[in-house]
């Protein structure tokens, strides 16, 4: 990047386009070669495009071990989540199968907001309460089930903390229940193994730009055998089995397919490297003392969420101009902006307010991680030098209120 731009450690928000992906996309933006409408298979323009779309469908399906026929193109994971949650619940509700849905308080807004819409439509939503480390047990999920539960929607890896829900076991537990299982895998696909068929997932949301693909394209996997039916959100030309009408964006889809192929080829090596980098980052930050890890040690390999004791989040953010990271609550009003995820985990407001998400990708280097640690260390040292809260913390050696035990709390310079 431009030399004076900050170090980009915000890959949970979006990732850089892989050069191989760009190369795959370019022909599909050229006037004649990329012209065809994939649905117009009566001539070679359309056939050419349709072939490319189907190859991409296979690549996306392969990454998550799903059948290609189940892949429905969308504009991203937000649309996929909406289609899954609203589509599955409405379809079941309209047929008198029930109006109860189970999800979790730490889900992405792209799931929580459609759930609110379902409530307005008369559905009942049970939002499970995670433990202080953000985790959820299979028993919790199964206990929330009722005879009229029609949908369970739980994310695979959390976008703020990286906490991973035990999807395989949850799917297993749901096997004898009629409820449909939707999984938002926007953060985990390409970073953790996802096995749609092995696990028995019915619906799965994906987003291309989270795995070095283009923005504006994603997919909803909809189980094709036995066929799962959804109420569509849009009506039109009947593309994508009627679930998602509209002319397909060939260049975007081809890019998404290529991104999945690249991710699948490097999955194990990339994940191992990410774990190393993330652990290096964590131990460097933990060495500063007064840091708390929000989440679990065994989370998704690319996300580290850390609370810094004794500093104000907004001041730390202003000090960390050299890092493109994500603030837990980049606002002076703790009330208004505290992350709903950290709040659900019971992280105290003061700590939630000074929490930051560092997120890495396969393009991240060791040097970037080391520079991020050094910059954070300098900022903490400067701000803590005149912080009454830090002085008190050092005098008592006690965690600030709300420090959840057992999730990496590191008082006074111990290594994490």
């Amino acid at each position: 990047m431009t030399a004076d731009w900050p170090i980009y450690l915000d890959h949970a928000a979006t990732t850089p386009l892989d050069p191989q992906v760009l190369e795959a996309m370019l022909p599909w933006m050229q006037s004649m070669r990329g012209l065809g409408n994939p649905s117009s298979t009566g001539h070679c323009y359309g056939q050419h495009a349709a072939t490319a779309v189907e190859e991409a469908r296979e690549a996306v399906a392969a990454l998550v071990h799903a059948e290609p026929a189940g892949v429905v193109w969308t504009s991203g994971a937000t649309e996929a989540d909406n289609l899954a949650v609203l589509g599955a619940a409405r379809f079941a509700g309209q047929r008198g199968r029930g109006r109860h849905v189970v999800s979790c308080r730490t889900e992405h807004k792209a799931v929580l907001e459609p759930l609110k819409q379902l409530e307005r439509e008369g559905f009942e939503v049970t939002l499970l309460q995670p433990a202080a480390d953000g985790s959820l047990t299979v028993e919790q999920v199964l206990q929330a089930l009722r005879d009229d539960t029609v949908l369970v929607s739980l994310m695979h890896a959390n976008n703020e903390t990286g906490v991973v829900h035990p999807i395989a076991a949850i799917a297993e537990g749901l096997r004898d229940h009629a409820a449909v299982l939707h999984v938002d895998a926007a953060q985990s696909a390409g970073r953790l193994p996802v096995d749609v068929r092995g696990w028995g997932v019915d619906l799965l949301s994906l987003s291309a730009h989270k795995l070095h693909g283009p923005k504006g394209v994603g997919a909803l996997y909809v189980r094709s055998r036995p066929r799962l039916r959804l109420e569509p959100l849009m009506f039109g030309g009947g593309q994508e089995r009627g679930y998602r009408p509209g002319t397909l964006a060939t260049h975007q889809i081809v890019g998404f397919g290529k991104a999945c192929a690249v991710a699948a080829a490097g999955l194990d090596a990339d994940a191992a490297r990410l774990v190393d980098l993330r652990d290096r980052l964590w131990s460097g930050l933990a060495r500063q003392g007064g840091v708390q890890r929000n989440g679990r040690l065994d989370g998704a390999p690319h996300i580290l969420n850390v609370a810094f004791v004794g500093v104000h989040g907004e001041a730390l953010e202003a000090e960390l101009q050299g890092l493109a990271i994500s603030a837990g609550a980049a606002c002076s009003s703790a009330e208004a902006m505290t992350s709903h995820v950290l709040r659900a985990m019971g992280v105290a407001d003061d700590l939630a307010q000074s929490s930051f998400r560092f997120s890495l990708a396969r393009t991240t280097t060791t040097s970037e991680v080391d520079r991020a640690v050094a910059q954070t260390a300098d900022a903490l040292e400067r701000l803590r030098a005149f912080s009454p809260a830090w002085r008190r913390y050092c005098e008592t050696g006690a965690p600030m209120q709300g420090g959840a035990p057992g999730n990496g709390f590191s008082p006074g310079g111990s290594k994490g």
């Binding site: 001041a315 030098a385 809260a389």
Partner: protein, 126 residues
Amino acid sequence: MRQYSPQVWEHFRHPRNAGIPVGSTECVGRGCAAEAGVEVEFVAVMGQGDILTAVGWECLGCPQSIASCSWASERARQSGGVNLPSALDMQRALGLTSDALSRALVVEDALHAAVADARKRRDEVT
């Protein structure tokens, strides 16, 4: 990322009189705006002739709060504690945003309380 005025940046990056002077912790004024996560402590030392001889502060707060502490401490020291700056003075001088006024009030409270405390203690001694 929020935008701050050049004056706020200047004081935030180079705070004046930061820290509590050693051995003067008894003359403390405190202010707190819990909902904004802001906490301020001022320490003042009064010498002969009602002159402020030393001032220091600690602040857990946003850049505008830290800049307010820095600027207010400098003003108080320069005036010898005669004309203590108010939150509105801080807002004008530093170009604080309107939502930062409540935090400047915390700084004002702490500074004024510290000076009042120091005066009281000096009067008790003399």
